[in-house]
Amino acid sequence: MKMTIEMQLKPEERPRVEDAWEHLRDLHEVLEARTKEVARLLTFHVVISRPTIEEPVIPIAKVQPTRIVRRSRDELQEELERFETAYGFSTAELIPRLRAGEMEETLDVRRWVSLRAIHNRINP
């Protein structure tokens, strides 16, 4: 389901990015009154325009629906094996290597740490 919302800025409002974000925030206030199920089904296109006919309508944001996937234990195992193939050692060695300063705590590495934490939770 797609909902398009068009907003006209008031003449005294300057068409700044900050204004657009304020409108988006207001929009979310409105959404909160809706049921969560409906909110999840909707895709929003927010269009904010100025009251001057010369200016094109500017699409500023598309709020994507949240994605939720239910994974299996085998899929987690496959993810961890992908790490081992790429790095040449098991995720079990990640924390010791981070602790020893042998690896930088990058976003990618942290993702594997998180998956390892989940794996440890399942297989303590």
Partner: protein, 148 residues
């Protein structure tokens, strides 16, 4: 802590959605959650929640990279909140993970800079985003490490 109405992992996803929405920021591609099995017991269908890494952009171009995992009781297993200026780099990063507990005596810490880490209180997604907004509004006079 999540509000009282957050009773299940599904509620938790909605709470995160709302917190992100209220921040005024924008996550390209939207939020993505994985549910992983919580036990090896085939009969037990309880699941842990995994928020995949995402980037929340604010209007000034600064952004918060974050991910988190919560257990069946909705307590944190692991998290990462990294707030950065528009050009990249780091204002601060609040982490919960194994690796520094021998030094810190706990899993929660903050990286005040690339070279400085301190023990820090546990934070949830609402507090971390709120902290980023505090810094956004009051930069450069505000920094969470000033209070740590």
């Amino acid at each position: 802590m999540p509000p009282d109405w957050v009773l299940t992992a599904e509620d938790y996803t909605l709470w995160v959605e709302r917190v992100v929405a209220h921040s005024g920021g924008f996550v390209p591609g939207g939020l993505a959650f994985n549910f992983w099995p919580a036990t090896t017991d085939e009969e037990n269908d309880s699941q842990v929640l995994d928020l995949l890494p995402c980037r929340l952009f604010f209007h000034d171009g600064s952004f918060l990279d974050f991910s988190l995992q919560v257990d069946t009781d909705l307590s944190h297993i692991d998290y990462r909140f990294h707030y950065a200026p528009s050009g990249g780099g780091m204002f601060w990063r609040k982490d919960m993970h194994h690796g520094h507990e021998d030094d810190d005596g706990q899993l929660f810490h903050i990286h005040c800079s690339v070279d400085e880490r301190r023990p820090y209180d546990e934070v949830d997604v609402e507090e971390a985003i709120g902290e980023a907004l505090q810094q956004l509004w009051h930069h450069p006079t505000y920094h969470p490490c000033n209070d740590a």
